[in-house]
Every structure is written in structure tokens, then in C-alpha cells.
Symmetry: C2
Subunit: 314 residues, 2 copies
């Protein structure tokens, strides 16, 4: 499958950091940056630009904030054409500042938003678009949104300067026919925008649903090394690179950084398919239910967890 | 997705036994049998009917042979409407015997075959069909067969008494569009047969590809508890039951047996997505390359393994 318009965005540090409060060694972040650059990945999302009022710096690592100066410590001196992205939560915008793009190592600002916060998201998108950044709107938890509300948000985004509108299956609840349906809906209401897809692996469908997106014309594809990410994790970068046949991509640097860094890291922090994550996926519930369960003494009482969650829904 | 014709076949013991020479405790096999019965699963494949000349009994557990008497030790006294299946490799038929179905606890004989052995497979299918058994032909490694040879085999099967013809992605190499293509090809050449699908999880696509099969009208679906099976394993039974909405299925007994038996077993023997399995999947090679690598001291040297395998293909 070779389509030159396809762009791959890696969220190893950004989504992976949700497991450990973004406390990663610089050496690790730099190794990821170098590997992805060599692999031909288009964007690396290096973390969040979060509010230090909401998230005190004593509690989190540098990639919760992604100060421009900190990013430069990683990327300066490395030969790379890869672009840098940072994510901002629309409902958590406080004092964060952005300098004009030509003064920043950041190329793209991705705004994560629930449908209810779409106006906040668009405010921020306009602001950073005017500063010269590429922008995306990542509509989270789309599997639990009402369609009329979603459609209204899409219609607003169509009128905004945003470059890419993302389908985000935060709950890992969707399967291929639902991806098809959403791609059609997004395209109908945002015919002037590129579409993106960000999948979670609760039902081992993150890669399969990303392929479905590719087949339906989605061009911005999120993935992470060895699938690292909160809960069940993301679409695996190694699988996506194995599938895409664009000669600019090279899987070998990705295999190397996985063996050197991700395999040892997986011994320290947990991510990937686990039965509690599968249960929240099939029941279309927030992954936090599963993540809290995995952190408790009852982590392996699956049937009980399933029945408790069913009761909560009743 | 509710289609009454759909039948689920569990291969937890049969495919799982390929990891440990089918040496399972009776207690475990019985717990699996009881859980699957309660879950409404249609068939349990309890093992192979292998030749004791080719596979000496001192080297393997009982589920390599599935003597009728041994099966009765597991199932007698348990209330169940689930049918029992055993598998036979077409190219390894020697002295194995089959009594008439009404004298056996076995309902279905599944014949695993490469395209080149299709005549041996059909010989066996005719023989056991005449004894009253349901039969399937499981054409293995379909991702490396030449289409004219495959078509000839399908045309022969269409003329045989076989009930179900299976698409078997032994290498875990296929993605959804290729599944579509094969379903159409099988249906064109075996319009009078039910179709089945058996996927491997090398690229985390076993469940996604099984869904694709369901959408395209495949009615016989293979899965195993927690995906247990050789190498990357199979489509997870818990995912399939979470997806299918037929009220006869019940996921809770499956969650219970996973927490009680599969999670502890996974501590002792390895299966599931690993990078070497992913590599053989994307390169469309036999899973044994990955399985041998995982058993060596170089188990985590992924980039080297990838490049070695590329060299082998060159």
C-alpha cells in the first residue's frame, strides 16, 4: 500500500508518558528521535504542552510540558527531516504560551478535545494556526458521542483553519465497519480537510482499524513503538511500517530501538493487551476502569470485573 | 453481529498443544471443556489424531492422539451440547483408525492439508465422512500457494463430501483485503460448501481478519482462549464472544477459565505477539523461524533476525 500523501505520526513519548507521568530519560527520548528519523517517520509527537498550574512540575517529567528549550536539547545536532508535534488538551488550556513557529522547534500543534469542548479547541487552533503551526483536531472518545453533536463539531471544524481532523477511538471500542462509517461521516462534513486516525488496542484491532482507515483514504496515521501507550496501547509502529510499501520508510531502525529500549522498558511499566482492557473495550467504557483494576490486588479477577462493569452500566 | 449459522470452534488444546507437545493435565482440559460448554461454543477441538508410529507416545501428551477412551474421561458426566473435533494432518496419515461416529465421542474430523496433499486429504475425508463424521478441509499456509494450484484443490473439494473448507493463514501474513479476495475465490470454486477461517496473530490481525471473514459470510470461526497457540497464537475466544451478539454465547465462563488457568499457564509457556513472530508474518515465512529464534540466546535481536531472514529470501 503506497500512497505518497500518507503521513505517519509517532506518539511513543506522548502517549507512552501517560503510563509514567512522562518521566523518561533524555537518552531514551533521543534514541527514539534518532530511530524514527532514520525510519522515515513524518512526525514525532514528543509530549504535551500542559499547564504548569494544573500539573505541577514536581510531579511530572519534562514531556508533560515540552518547553521549546527542552525539545532543542534532544533534537539539536541530529540530522533529521522529521517534524515535531506537541499535544494540548482543549479543556486544560491555561497559561501555556506559544511563540511564532519560526522561533520554535515545534511544527505541529495537535489539539485533543471532546465534542463538548470543540469551541475551546477551535479557539486554540486559530491562535496557533496564526502563529504558523500546522494543526490537528483530535476528537476523543468518538465511540460514545451522539451523532448530531459530533456532526455539529465537524461542521465547525470545516469552517476553521485546522489542517487535519482525527478519528480517535479512545476506548478501543470500534471495529472496521464503524471506522468506515466514521470516515464517511467525517469526509462528508469536512470535505476540505485531511483525515487522521488514532486507535487503541483494547480489542487487538488498533492495526486492523488503521489499515481500514488507510483503505478508506485516511492519510494521517498514529502509531507508537511496540504499541506503547496507556492501557492496551496503540497501533504498533513496526506493524504499520511492515505494511506500508513507501520506499522512504525503513523498519530496521525501529526494530533496533525496540530491542534496545522498549523491551527493557516493558519490564518496568505495563502496557498492551490485557483482559481488563479488552473488557472496557467491548463494553465501550473509559480505559481508566481497566487501568485502576490492573493496579489493584484484584487485577486478574476478570469475570468479577466484567460483571461489576455491567452493573455500573445497568 | 448475529447470524444463527455462525459456528465457533475452539482450538485451545489442539493448537495450544503445539507449544508443549500436548502435555496438559486432565484437570485443565476438563476445565476448558466445561467453560466452553457453558459459553455456548459450538465445537471444541480437543487435539490431533496423530500416528503413534510417527509420534512415539513417550514423547507426547494424550492430546496428540485423542483416543476415544481418553476423550470420554474428560467429557463423560458433564452436561454439554458442544461437539468434539479432532484434527488429522493429511500428509501424516499412517495407522490411525476411526470407528463409526455413533460409537465415538468425536463429531467432526478436521483434515489439515497443504495444497500438494489435497488428494490425501480427500481420501481421508471420504473415509471418515462414510463413517458418519462431519468433515472440514483446512488448507494451510494459503499465503504462499500459487493460485492455479489452490483453485484446482478447491475444485476437487467442491466435488468431495467435505462440509466446510477453511482459509488458514498459517503464517499470519494476510490483511483484510486479502481475506476478502480469498473468501470470494473459495466461494466461487466451492459454492456448495460452508467456509471457515483460522487466523494467526503475527501482525495482531487474527481477530480483525476473522471479523472480515464474518462480514463476507464465513460461518465457521476458529479461536482459542487468550489466543493460545503456536508462536503468535490465534484469534482470542474472548474477543470473538465479545463481538458476536448471538444470545446463546456467554463470555463469563471464558473469562473465568482464563483467569484460573490461562494466566498461570502463560507464566510457564510463551505465546502471543512477539517481534520475531511479527517479522515472519510481514515477510510471509514459516512461523518456525521465529519460534526457533525465541528459543535461542538471540531471542531479542530483532533487527539482526529481520536482516538474516531477508538474506534467506534473497
Amino acid at each position: 500500500m503506497y500512497r505518497p500523501q500518507i503521513k505517519i505520526l509517532d506518539c511513543t513519548i506522548r502517549d507512552g508518558g501517560l503510563i509514567n507521568r512522562h518521566i523518561f530519560e533524555d537518552e531514551y527520548v533521543k534514541a527514539v528521535y534518532m530511530a524514527l528519523s532514520k525510519a522515515g517517520v513524518d512526525y514525532m509527537e514528543i509530549g504535551y504542552r500542559s499547564s504548569k498550574e494544573l500539573y505541577p512540575v514536581k510531579d511530572f517529567g519534562a514531556w508533560k510540558y515540552c518547553d521549546d528549550e527542552k525539545i532543542r536539547q534532544i533534537i539539536d545536532g541530529v540530522e533529521s527531516t522529521m517534524k515535531i508535534s506537541v499535544m494540548v488538551d482543549a479543556h486544560r488550556v491555561r497559561e501555556q504560551t506559544f511563540v511564532p513557529k519560526d522561533k520554535s522547534p515545534v511544527h505541529m500543534i495537535r489539539v485533543a478535545t471532546y465534542v463538548r469542548d470543540i469551541d475551546k479547541a477551535i479557539d486554540l487552533i486559530k491562535r496557533v494556526h496564526d502563529l504558523g503551526y500546522e494543526t490537528t483536531a483530535n476528537i476523543m472518545a468518538v465511540s460514545i458521542e451522539n451523532e448530531p453533536d459530533l456532526v455539529e463539531a465537524l461542521d465547525e471544524l470545516a469552517q476553521s483553519p485546522v489542517d487535519v481532523v482525527y478519528i480517535v477511538d479512545s476506548y478501543g471500542a470500534l471495529y472496521c465497519e464503524q471506522i468506515d462509517y466514521l470516515v464517511n461521516l467525517y469526509r462528508q462534513h469536512c470535505p476540505n480537510k485531511e483525515l487522521g486516525i488514532h486507535c487503541h488496542n483494547n480489542q487487538q484491532l488498533a492495526f486492523g482499524n488503521t489499515i481500514e482507515g488507510i483503505i478508506r483514504g485516511v492519510n494521517y496515521l498514529d502509531a507508537s513503538l511496540y504499541g506503547i501507550g496507556r492501557g492496551a496501547g496503540n497501533c504498533c509502529m513496526e506493524l504499520l511500517l511492515g505494511f506500508l510499501k513507501n520506499p522512504k520508510f525503513n523498519i530496521v531502525p525501529v526494530l533496533k530501538v525496540i530491542e534496545q529500549y522498549l523491551i527493557p522498558l516493558r519490564q518496568q511499566i505495563e502496557w498492551g493487551y490485557q483482559i481488563p482492557d479488552m473488557i472496557t473495550g467491548i463494553l465501550n467504557r473509559h480505559p481508566d476502569f481497566a487501568i485502576k483494576r490492573r493496579a489493584s490486588a484484584d487485577r486478574d479477577k476478570f469475570a468479577e470485573f466484567y460483571e461489576e462493569l455491567l452493573d455500573l452500566l445497568a
